[in-house]
Symmetry: C2
Subunit: 209 residues, 2 copies
């Protein structure tokens, strides 16, 4: 990339407690912005019905994943229910260099690692309007029993307690409002002066640098 | 203000070189956002035809202005063509405490003072699309002679060279696009976690603090 003529790609990291509506929000954003791409993680779990390799995840074998860990190829990774999930460091670097903005849907644990290892990106935490609504949404799924719901609620509380280190807090009280807040954050971050300094070049007298 | 229940007001500071279209942009923003107020400066110069005291400026006598300087009541002030202009520190503090977002249209000189003295606010620099367009716009006014245009262009170059310390750079290539970028910045800044931390309170267990 010619750094003097265009900006680097921005990594937008989205975290949210279970039930805050993060997945729907990500879909809305990807549908609204043709110049925003979803970052695709590696996963060692089996592909589920309807999922596509390279679209939902890059499905790889546990041995291949372990190799990536050992060779420090992952910007973050986590084990969830015995399966491994992770983000390629090279993919993030390439997107940044090529000026591609990426959306990364990730849990708090992964976001913390990214903050430490990658030290770039805009960290956004999606909040449910309140605790009662979160509980309502988790119950409305109708798929989990009382124990699972209780555990998810406890986890959510734990995750929300970490939200303060994120750059932005976005309340998902209404999907359209939340999407608009997200779109505003993306548009604003694209105007940040440390990313758009190249705009000043054309006003500089030749030989001024 | 009850800090735990609502956020402080944000001060949005707009600077731009002459010819970048800042005044039109400010009007667009004030018209678009009912919850954004224009900050009104003190001025010692004579009221011009059509101007209203308390709307365009708070017109005061030079002696009263001097007193404000001595009593450190101004967050910034400057002498321009023999007249004094300044911003009341108390007005900024009151707006912040009352949760009122203010738009302050100010030159680079004043913005630097605010950055030093007030240490708050979101600093936005409006850029013309390029130097040729800036020159074209200054000439299109048809009110200034060649010397004045030359001096304004030199001043603009000088001001643009300072733009990098601002938080955001917004190109005014098109008034609607520039307004939308500004609206995005305002909406995004309202979601910044250091301003919206109170949102987390309702998820905290009672007695948790």
């Amino acid at each position: 990339m010619n750094k003097s003529s265009r900006r680097e790609g921005i990594l937008f990291i989205l975290s949210a407690p279970s039930g805050a509506g993060k997945s729907s929000l990500c879909r809305e954003l990807i549908d609204s912005l043709p110049d925003l791409r979803q970052s695709i993680s590696f996963a060692t779990r089996k592909k589920r019905g309807g999922e596509k390799d390279g679209v939902d995840y890059h499905f790889i074998k546990p041995e291949a994943f372990q190799k990536k860990i050992e060779q420090q190829q992952l910007a973050e990774w986590a084990e969830v229910h015995g399966n491994l999930y992770g983000t390629s460091l090279q993919t993030l670097k390439n997107a940044a260099e090529q000026g591609i903005d990426l959306l990364l849907d990730i849990d708090c644990q992964g976001a913390v690692q990214l903050k430490k290892n990658y030290q770039q990106g805009v960290f956004i935490f999606i909040l449910p309007p309140d605790y009662a609504e979160l509980e309502k949404r988790l119950r409305a799924r109708g798929t989990d029993d009382e124990d699972v719901i209780r555990r998810r609620l406890e986890n959510s509380k734990q995750e929300i307690s970490q939200a303060l280190w994120y750059d932005y807090l976005v309340v998902n009280d209404d999907i359209v409002l939340a999407r608009d807040r997200m779109l505003a954050i993306i548009a604003a971050e694209r105007c940040r002066s440390h990313r758009t300094a190249y705009l000043l070049d054309k006003f500089t007298v030749k030989g001024d640098k």
